[in-house]
Symmetry: C2
Subunit: 254 residues, 2 copies
């Protein structure tokens, strides 16, 4: 298996590379971390490894429980081989507990349990700062069909149930998380990542942040937090590629 | 009929007064006009009269066609007697053609016909700048029941059909409009106003703005536009209170 071909796309924290197979790409979790629409940024050693471990663990977990994702397998400790999706430019945010932007925008109290579970959909467009969108606008823009949106909503709620339950067993509260979907052949698959960058996780007892909020709001040592959370969520998984310390370099035509 | 008692609420362009009947209030359409979250404001002689004429005309038109509103009757040319509602803090915006904020927020072209018709709901909260909201958040905040929201959506679409058809007959395009609802006894009624301040209207031929955009974007003489539109929409109605030139003063305990 060749690990990476030409760079296809470089995001804020991940790089996507072509592979020999036109239906597969490899996703490298870099050590970059950004917040506040890119206004704050840093490089934290091995941060990409921790996010890759958690993402791969969750994708495998979802697949086992019948949720289809883009995940195939890991290539090295920070690189994931995935099905190449035609990405849908929507961010599906599922919120179980009020925290972050929803508390600023509406009269919720930080920590308030949300009943019902709140799903918010943002239109993924950096230049427009990912505005919140609704079903009518999604259809008027022709982004997905009604059937596809229904599928995405159902999948997002199922992912929420699965992850919330799994994390509760570790005494971690799944406060909220963000998902992205894409089309593969004629199916909708979960894409992107499921990591400390895209979730808000609180320790069940101390309520300490176990996610990017530690970086956003300078709540402690981010690297230590990410390492501990990855170890807690994915027991043993971090050591899977221990032998292979070569960081995937990617990029460049060979 | 006593026209007005103590001031109950003073909004940006209307004042609401108590009456002898605890289930009724009077709404005075003032000559104030504001835009951009109150950043721009002016006083335009008789502007309130034009908006009151159009609002009362539309409320009567809706009632005739089976849509229940707060409207009872006019007290003078700028004052409306209405049922006192318990207002629901939501703004229901119905958009037939892309214009204004939706063109800035999403990749629509100004003037693009929206398919389907787009409904957007904003949470009415000046301090929070009326953020867009969705059904899940509405329910999590306990603002309305599922049944009430469904009723509001159905009423808004019916109002859109009725007004769009009526205005099309005058060669006026109903680009978009904003509605508010309230509870009266156990019913949901259309409240607030339906005027050039809350609608975006374009001349069917010239596409000239016939609404508050003339004020927002300095497109011409606002007073002349409002007077002409009111005369066009409500033939004869402006002269109903011609004899009674006394402007309702309201306010103050008697």
């Amino acid at each position: 298996m060749k690990k990476g071909g030409p760079l296809l796309y470089r995001g804020k924290a991940k790089s996507v590379y072509l592979t020999d197979n036109p239906e597969e790409v490899s996703v490298e979790f870099r050590d970059d971390i950004t917040a506040f629409d890119g206004e704050k940024s840093a490089v934290l050693e091995d941060k990409g490894v921790y996010n890759a471990a958690v993402s791969s663990f969750f994708f495998e977990y979802l697949e086992i429980h019948g949720v289809k994702t883009h995940y195939i397998h890991m290539l090295d400790r920070r690189t994931m081989l995935v099905r190449r999706l035609s990405m849908i430019p929507l961010e599906i945010i599922v919120r179980n507990i009020a925290a972050g932007s929803i508390v600023k925008k509406y009269p919720f109290t930080e920590g308030q349990v949300l009943k019902p579970t709140v799903m918010v959909i943002d239109y993924k467009d950096d230049a427009r700062h990912d505005p919140m969108i609704n079903d009518d606008i999604i259809f008027a823009l022709g982004l997905v069909t009604r059937e596809e949106l229904l599928t995405m909503r159902k999948m997002a709620l199922k992912v929420n149930d699965l992850l919330r339950t799994y994390l509760a067993g570790l005494s971690i509260s799944l406060v909220d998380f963000k998902m992205e979907f894409g089309r593969y052949r004629s199916e909708i698959l979960v894409g992107d990542e499921l990591s400390m960058d895209s979730m808000r996780l609180w320790d069940g007892k101390t309520r300490d942040s176990l996610d990017k909020d530690v970086y956003r709001f300078d709540k402690g040592d981010v690297r230590t937090t990410y390492a501990a959370v990855a170890e807690r969520i994915t027991p043993g998984a971090l050591h899977r590629f221990e032998a292979e310390k070569t960081v995937f370099s990617g990029g460049g035509q060979e």
